[in-house]
């Protein structure tokens, strides 16, 4: 449609390379004033790089940026703020032991004395809150407020700095569905007030729900920009991946067998004396997937650590009928593996892999005591490990299939496949799997989901922990929801919906299942 106003943001021919990697290739983008524009793409497609260029973290090798029709040079974030651009990062940049007010003012103080800045900010914060429905208590400490609130503080920070253009990087990653809805309402208000919003996400549903226009990035290129109303999730997924993708997994009816894992009244208290698990009980049988939903940080990680053998706990766990040692000599990860528990951890960079190690060294990780991997009493059989790795990499379609490549050189999806191959190929009785598709591209998601299903159909018990409700809904045979170290309730996927699960995730008690 014809438009006399210049676009809020216009990028012309932006290119950026990191060494041999072309992160952005000749990107053109135009975002209308007062619109919500989505940018969607897989991990590594170049979305964050592009936004970092816009926010002054990186300098583009080529191309120009126009803000409201003016060519603007953005060498650093100060310049971006001056140009009216505000950014809300995926990981909030807030000082935990400062109040909301202090965080808003931080970096935008008027002088050496804080008093005047703070009282000015207090007034402005009240005005902003009224205008956009962004209620927060200015005197609350960040560490005392929830993630949803913290995100509002980030938005307020940007607005306080007079941002006209707001960039949000994966804003719903840490939110419950209800919080996400609230965020979307706020974004709607901001749009009505004439702000321009750029939303970076990999969730198709969000794009469909709130954006006016959407751009798709793939391999550093902007492959398409369309009106959201004229497209569909399937079409967008195809644009992202470059081929047709199955968005839902095929799920045969579960053939549930014997009881594999029994957890009774499990309690964990961390070093600071905070109770992370407050008496959890559940069962998993052979051939079924128990999905554990919940917002990150509600005890799921601790539960996986306890089951994985590297977190002490109180309570009872029985594996195939035998009680597991939770505090004594056999409460370590090696003993758990010996019991037939395999574990794909939530964070493959922190736990699942040694990034500096080569793929074959990672394939032995956790199984380094396996007699098959020893040449004699003294030496490991490196050749045997390499051969085993090559075989597993081929079976799990890891690319490139080179056992000698360092783990850090693989893409997120391929790193995850290495971990999966290592754990699944052990033929465990119980698979613990945390955030199986976090930071993994759509093509690999499909493959990973198929592997989990295959294992279930082979009669293994699976505990799936994920913050992605869609994933939980489509894979699980039963869904348990965690909140604040407790299981709020159990539901069957076909008899529940995201709304009900969302309420449970936010701690609204349902009746125990």
């Amino acid at each position: 449609m014809p438009d006399t106003q210049p676009p809020a943001i216009e990028l012309r021919g932006i290119s950026k390379a990191f060494g041999p990697v072309q992160a952005n290739k000749d990107i053109n983008l135009s975002v209308k004033r007062g619109a919500i524009h989505g940018i969607i793409g897989e991990n590594g497609a170049g979305k964050s790089t592009l936004m970092s260029i816009l926010y002054g973290f990186y300098k583009a090798d080529k191309g120009e940026i126009l803000i409201s029709g003016q060519i603007t040079h953005i060498p650093d974030s100060q310049a971006a703020i001056a140009a009216g651009i505000g950014m809300v990062f995926q990981h909030f940049k807030l000082v935990q032991n400062f109040t909301v007010l202090e965080n808003v003012v931080l970096g935008a103080e008027d002088g050496a004395l804080l008093g005047p800045s703070l009282s000015k900010a207090r007034k402005e914060l009240t005005a902003l809150a009224a205008e956009y429905g962004l209620d927060v208590d200015p005197d609350a400490l960040i560490q005392d407020i929830g993630v949803g609130m913290q995100q509002r503080v980030e938005i307020l920070k940007a607005l306080y700095r007079q941002a006209d253009i707001l960039i949000l990087d994966e804003p719903t990653g840490v939110l419950t569905p209800a919080e996400a809805d609230q965020l979307f309402r706020i974004l709607g208000r901001l749009k009505e007030e004439g702000k321009t919003i750029v939303l970076i996400t990999h969730k198709l549903r969000e794009i469909m729900e709130i954006t006016d226009t959407v751009s798709v990035m793939r391999r550093g290129e902007m492959t398409a920009t369309v009106e959201t109303a004229t497209t569909s999730p399937e079409a967008l997924a195809e644009l992202m991946v470059g081929r047709k993708v199955l968005l839902r997994v095929e799920k045969k009816p579960a053939k549930v067998g014997a009881l594999v894992l029994e957890v009774r009244d499990l309690k964990v208290t961390d070093d600071k004396g905070v109770q992370k698990l407050r008496g959890i009980s559940f069962d998993i049988r052979a051939g079924e997937i128990l999905g554990l939903a919940g917002v990150a940080g509600n005890g799921q990680s601790e539960l996986l650590e306890v089951l994985g053998g590297y977190q002490k706990a109180k309570g009872t766990i029985r594996m195939n009928g035998e009680e597991i040692d939770l505090t004594g000599r056999h409460s370590d990860a090696q003993s758990r593996r010996a019991r037939g528990i395999a574990h794909v951890p939530e964070d493959r960079h922190r736990e699942g892999l040694i990034l500096e190690f080569q793929a074959w060294e990672n394939m032995a990780f956790g199984y380094h005591n396996d007699p098959k991997y020893q040449k004699n009493a003294l030496m490991m059989d490196n050749d045997a490990i390499r051969a085993d790795t090559a075989e597993k990499m081929a079976r799990f379609d890891v690319r490139p299939p080179n056992p000698l490549l360092a783990a850090k050189s693989f893409s997120g999806g391929n790193q995850q496949k290495i971990v999966l191959a290592r754990e699944i190929e052990r033929n465990p009785d119980l698979l613990l799997i945390g955030q199986p598709t976090r930071g993994v591209d759509i093509g690999a998601i499909e493959f990973i989901h198929q592997q989990i299903m295959r294992l279930r159909d082979e009669g293994k018990a699976i505990l799936l922990v994920s913050v992605e409700l869609e994933e939980i809904m489509s894979l699980s045979d039963r869904i348990a929801v965690m909140f604040d170290g407790q299981i709020m309730g159990e539901r069957l996927p076909e008899k529940t919906d995201e709304k009900e699960l969302g309420l449970l995730m936010a701690g609204m008690a349902g009746e125990a299942a």
């Binding site: 041999p20 590594g44 990860a333 922190r350 380094h368 490139p400 391929n414």
Partner: protein, 389 residues
């Protein structure tokens, strides 16, 4: 992926650091009115152009190999052991105790006994800080420094009280049995008919040091324990996930590290002085840090770096002997080399990395890793780094 090819990483960076240190040293020598070219030629002549010079260069290098390996092994477990000085001092005590009181039948058996004692004493001295770090969270840098002082105090006490022969005035033990004298390079050459000047230079411990290099390499890259040490050093969280016990690995790695430092004593105490004197370590424990840094914690790198520092030590001694360059200035020059090769590593590395990036860009050849077949994806680099920014 690595930005620089491996050869640049391993050789170019230290070489440039070394050249920078040399240039700055030359300026210092010029400033006090001496000729840097003469100085260099004296250093070379006195350290590697004569049998005698080699003897001393290798003698010093032997010390630095042990202390360098000590720091390197700890580095692989991400432990900064700067207690090599104290562990080597205790190693000396072990050697003295093993040799003073037992009449070993042959020098080779005495050497074996001294080796075991030196390693055991060094390892035990490292074990206490290791335990405090692993189980109590006391920082190993602090505790190992403190243990250096305690070692020095302990030896001071023992040497001036219990171990000193009655009637002797200097704080040292009696001479060891002359039958325990280790074969030296000069001794061997004399037997072969060459005329050798003095006998107090490189001895058979040098071969023990080379064996230690190989043993450390074997341990780290061929055994399960080494695998666990390296994994723990790379990521403690991942190690826990894999069932590698942090306390155990910390203590074992530190014991190996301390044991290696202790072995240095067989070179100085048994090989050269043939009795235990005060301050037998002569600062080699600290040089070990620079050696490990420059050798990139690889046994072969440690070997080369130790040779270099051996050359600097022997060359420096020659310089003090034949020129007006004061002894203190030689320490300054050695310190410059340590500063550039050890502490200022990134100063050279960063510009070099940028240079390699620029060289590579126009042609854009594949990185060290072969490109994935099918779509090339720039996955792990930009996005992850941005989020951290």
């Amino acid at each position: 992926m690595d930005i620089m090819p491996k050869w640049a990483e391993v050789f170019l960076v230290p070489l440039i650091s070394l050249i920078l240190a040399a240039i700055l040293s030359a300026v210092v020598i010029l400033a006090i009115g001496e000729n840097p070219i003469d100085a260099v030629s004296i250093m070379i002549k006195g350290s590697v152009l004569s049998v005698r010079g080699w003897g001393y260069t290798l003698y010093y290098a032997t010390n630095f190999i042990f202390t360098g390996l000590c720091v390197a092994v700890a580095f692989h477990a991400r432990l900064f052991n700067i207690g090599g000085e104290g562990q080597a001092a205790l190693g000396g005590l072990g050697v003295a105790l093993a040799l003073l009181f037992i009449p070993w039948p042959h020098w080779s058996i005495a050497l074996a006994a001294a080796t075991v004692a030196a390693a055991a004493f060094g390892a035990l001295w490292a074990l206490i800080p290791a335990y405090l770090q692993a189980a109590r969270g006391s920082h190993i840098v602090i505790t190992t420094i403190m243990f250096n002082f305690m070692a020095s105090g302990l030896l001071n006490y023992l040497l001036s009280n219990s171990l000193k022969p009655i009637g002797q005035s200097d704080p040292a033990t009696a001479k060891f049995n002359a039958a325990f004298d280790l074969p030296t390079l000069n001794g061997v050459l004399t037997q072969m008919g060459y005329k050798a000047a003095r006998d107090d230079s490189v001895n058979i411990t040098f071969l023990v040091a080379i064996a230690a290099c190989f043993a450390v390499w074997f341990l780290l890259w061929r055994t399960r324990l080494g695998y666990q040490i390296r994994a723990f050093g790379q990521s403690e969280t991942a190690a826990k996930y894999a069932g590698i016990k942090p306390v155990r690995i910390t203590m074992i790695a530190m014991m190996i590290s301390g044991g290696l430092a202790g072995l240095m004593a067989i070179n100085t105490v048994m090989g050269e002085q043939e009795r235990l004197v005060l301050n037998a370590v002569e600062g080699a424990g600290f040089i070990g840090i620079a050696v490990a840094l420059m050798g990139r914690s690889h046994p072969f790198g440690v070997f080369l770096a130790a040779l270099l520092f051996g050359f600097l030590y022997q060359g420096g001694a020659e310089l003090a002997l034949w020129t007006n360059i004061p002894r203190e200035l030689i320490v300054v020059i050695q310190a410059l080399v340590i500063l550039f090769t050890g502490a200022l590593d990134n100063m050279v590395r960063m510009p070099l990395e940028r240079l390699f990036l620029r060289l590579r860009k126009p042609e854009a050849p594949p990185p060290t890793a072969p490109p994935p077949p099918g779509p090339t994806r720039p996955d792990h680099t930009p996005e992850g780094t941005v989020k951290e920014a």
